[in-house]
Amino acid sequence: MTEAATIPSALDRYEVVIGLEVHAQLLTRSKMFCPCPADYTSAAPNENTCPVCLGLPGVLPVINQQAVEYTVRTALALHCDIPPFTKFDRKNYFYPDLPKGYQISQYDLPLSINGHLEFPVGGETVRCGITRVHLEEDTGTMHHAGDVLQSAMSSLIDLNRCGVPLMEIVGEPDLRAPEAAREYLVRLRQILTYIGVNDGNLEQGSFRCDANISLRPRGAQELGVKVEVKNMNSFRAVQRALESEIERQTSVLDAGGTLVQETRGWVEAHGRTISQRSKEQAHDYRYFPEPDLPPLRLDAAFVERVRATLPELPEARAHRFQEQYGLTAYDAAVLTDTREEADTYEALVGAGVPAKLAANWQSGDVAALANEHRMPLQHSGLGVEGLASLLRLVDSGAINGPTAKELLAELYVAGGNPEALVRDRGLAQVSDTAELTALVDAAIAANPAAAADFRAGKQQALGQLMRSVKEATGGKADMPLVNRLLRDRLSEQ
């Protein structure tokens, strides 16, 4: 049986309950508790470390205020409450990537609670509760000579990532399908990148997701046995892992078996999850209040100051784009997908490009080029201003569409001033009626058969005549005008 066939029938009998935990690294300059740079990807191993993040004897943590601010910003974007009193706790366990033998995290009094996230799934809006958003520190990374630590002959530790500020966003078990889980993550990542606190990179692990999933017979009140799924490095992996888990759990339940509470890892290559740790093997983290850090008191004035730094969020911006620029819901969603995209759009419109024209070009040819060159418009040779001046030339009729397309492709890579280029290369659109009328007459004279066909009712015969005029102008003719002139001339006789 295939997955696709299994899941719908499983969903007839069982209700799927999914809750997601997301760990997102914060884009702060320095680490959570020391002055080391938080950028761990571009440094040599163990270069960005100091006595504090190495956990040397005698050192003490100092809270990164920017990380607190970013977490509050996130909490506000997720409609959370910010309690006036919050504290840090120690989560104790031994592992070589955790130098202190404990992670400074937050246990019973997190920085924020009781939020929610709304997102579309299959045309409907789903709301998922956010239990809490709290702040902690990331661990180091390990490189094993072998697959896993247990069987490795040796392991190397890089502590550059150790102490990077990490936000944990815990969602309520409100999700009912793998697709909803995926859309939740898409929207969450969109918001985090919008508000500038996270770069949303699942592959590099700056945005990581664990899922809790259980099944219960439809109509049942109590939750089924919960399984935690880890190691999912893409949105697709999350959806596939959950689908595979539903299939596995369904077959166990259908066979009259019982599930065990455990942690399972997604193995992309095999397309299934494997058991990693049972409930009995679960750590007792021995949480207790971090005695090296006094509790944080976040007063209302601070929270309001952070709220003032919140940009317009994607959903609201998409609504406004529809209202203000007359865009379709689809176009508005595409153009507000990222904050950069939306900023670019508004910059184009602000530079005098008509709203509809800007939308078509940005989401069409420009998006294709960005994809092709793996380079966003802002970093391309053309830039946002260059695109605006190119589109103004289109709008004013100075150049025609095909010319604009060619120029766009060239300038995107090489850069340059569109107006100067049009002038220097004589690319200006030929839209002089007298000049074009002469060319139209010449085309009819040179293609009598096509002209006759058109007059006899064959619409497609017009194409040959259009091409003829286009060629005669070196492709610069105002083609809508040529079309009108041809039709007029051919209907005269």
Binding site: P57, L60, N92, F94, K100, R286, P294
Partner: protein
């Protein structure tokens, strides 16, 4: 006789001695005395010579503005990190460990021109009351080397009592400065929690640890305290408010002051000789114009239990970093788990293991509420009782230790050892400042008087202690090792 910081400061400025001469004297004294005492784990001759040379310039260039500590030898408990100097915390676990940084309090002394001659012996990771838990052998009490100097800062107490250096730094988590000061016949001061940065102090129990000085006199104590106190951005638990100058009020006396005697601190466990010496001290303070009255701290009996939940809980977490992965001792084993187990088995002594186990248990799921949470509640109660008492009196006076120095090996069960700190550890739980000053002898062994004041009233502690000291002469009586040096 060995001179005080104040006296040496004058001698350095009138040209009758030099930093190098003082250093040579101190090193020679250690050379002579430490075979008996074992107060030093490391003698930092090279560092001291560099610092003495720097002090010479500071005194020549700015004799008036140079710190009173400039050019004067001193020693540091081996839980205080010094850049490039082996720092073991009295443990095999850290044998050979050289921190790449210097802690804040120590750096402040170095900046003032202090000359560090060595790192002193202590109970392993500051856990103990006799310095017998050091992995590097016990410390002899300069008054009787068959007896302990107290602990955990026993080496720092002994070296001042022996007259090798006029001052040293120790740390006090449950009495580890005050108790050895009492048993060794010197002044030992634990300031208010938050007054001295803990950055660079190898943690035992973070919410209780505090750095403080050992000196011969209360005035010297005020000098060292002034040099190291104050906010440190590297320690979030250090208090931001300004430190008042204890020297300004040091000589104000106790006339008109109300002093409280907590009857719980003079319970049945108090040795008769200690009781007699301390009660005589009360009469001296009365004669100085203070009014003495009984006060009550009813939670004293449970404070010991609370302490032995909170301190081990924090220690079980603080000592998790000694895993053999990055520094210190490592026992090579094929698997990670075995490496952890064997490294910690070999590196830690019994008392440290006992406290890690106690603390791990107290924090474990299912026991947290019954132990740790309950202990925190009682800790708040202990603190509130101090607040209440300080509404009635300006300071508390009491014994520092229920006993005088005891023979090595005589307290081999942990509980009787834990009882050593029964009158000192409540001050750590409440975060209040406390000092011990010499107040007499029992069969030739020193007794200490403890003075405790409200949080941030460190100057008041020093003022009361100074008034008592100046009215008596116990601080001028020298141990045999110090007399020899004279």
């Amino acid at each position: 006789m060995p001179r005080t910081i104040s006296e040496l400061g004058i001698a350095l400025r009138d040209g009758s001695t030099t930093p190098r001469a003082l250093l040579a004297e101190a090193l020679a004294h250690v050379e002579r005395s430490d075979k008996d005492l074992n107060a030093y784990l490391t003698v930092t001759r090279e560092l001291a010579e560099q610092q003495a040379a720097a002090a010479v310039h500071m005194l020549e260039d700015h004799p008036e503005t140079a710190s009173p500590l400039c050019g004067i030898p001193m020693a540091l408990k081996d839980v205080l990190c010094v850049d490039g100097i082996e720092t073991t915390a009295g443990s095999k676990m850290l044998r050979g460990f050289k921190p790449p940084y210097t802690g804040t309090a120590v750096q402040r002394l170095f900046d003032a021109g202090a000359v560090c001659i060595g790192k002193t012996n202590c109970d392993e990771f500051a856990m103990g009351s006799s310095t017998e838990n050091s992995a590097y052998g016990p410390v002899g009490n300069p008054w009787d080397i068959e007896r302990v100097p107290g602990g955990s800062s026993g080496g720092s107490a002994a070296t001042v009592a022996a007259g090798s250096v006029p001052y040293s730094l120790g740390t006090d988590t449950g009495g580890s400065i005050r108790q050895p000061a009492a048993l060794s016949g010197v002044v030992g001061f634990k300031p208010t929690y938050g007054r001295i940065s803990r950055y660079g102090l190898i943690a035992f129990a973070s919410s209780l640890d505090q750095i403080g000085p050992f000196t011969r006199t209360v005035e010297d104590c005020a000098l060292v305290y002034s040099a190291i106190a104050g906010h440190d951005p590297r320690d979030s638990t250090s208090d931001p408010r300004a430190v008042d100058d204890p020297l300004a009020s040091l000589r104000a006396g106790v006339a008109g002051m109300r002093l409280g005697i907590p009857r719980e601190y003079l319970g049945e466990g108090t040795e008769p000789g200690v009781r007699a010496a301390v009660e005589a001290a009360f009469r001296v303070l009365e004669a100085q114009g203070a009014t003495l009255q009984d006060v009550s701290l009813p939670s004293t009996d449970v404070a010991l239990s609370v302490y032995y939940i909170i301190a081990p809980a924090e220690c079980s977490s603080n000592l998790a970093r000694y895993d053999g992965v990055r520094f210190g001792n490592r026992v090579e084993r094929a698997s990670l788990t075995d490496m952890y187990l064997q490294t910690r088995e070999a590196g830690f002594g019994n008392e440290v293991k006992r406290r890690i186990m106690l603390g791990t248990y107290a924090l474990s799921s299912g026991y947290y509420d019954a132990y740790y949470r309950q202990a925190q509640k009682v800790r708040t109660l202990v603190s509130q009782e101090f607040d209440g008492v300080f509404k009635e009196v300006d300071a508390i006076v009491c014994p520092t230790s229920p006993s005088v120095a005891f023979p090595m090996g005589s307290r081999d069960d942990p509980l009787s050892m834990y009882m050593c700190d029964v009158v000192t550890l409540p001050a750590n739980l409440a975060g209040v400042p406390g000092i011990s000053v010499p107040c007499g002898f029992v069969d030739g062994l020193p007794v200490g008087l403890q003075v405790i004041a409200p949080r941030f009233e460190d100057s008041r502690v020093l003022r009361v202690a100074h008034a008592y000291e100046q009215a008596t002469s116990f601080h001028t009586v020298l141990s045999p090792y110090a007399s020899e040096a004279a």
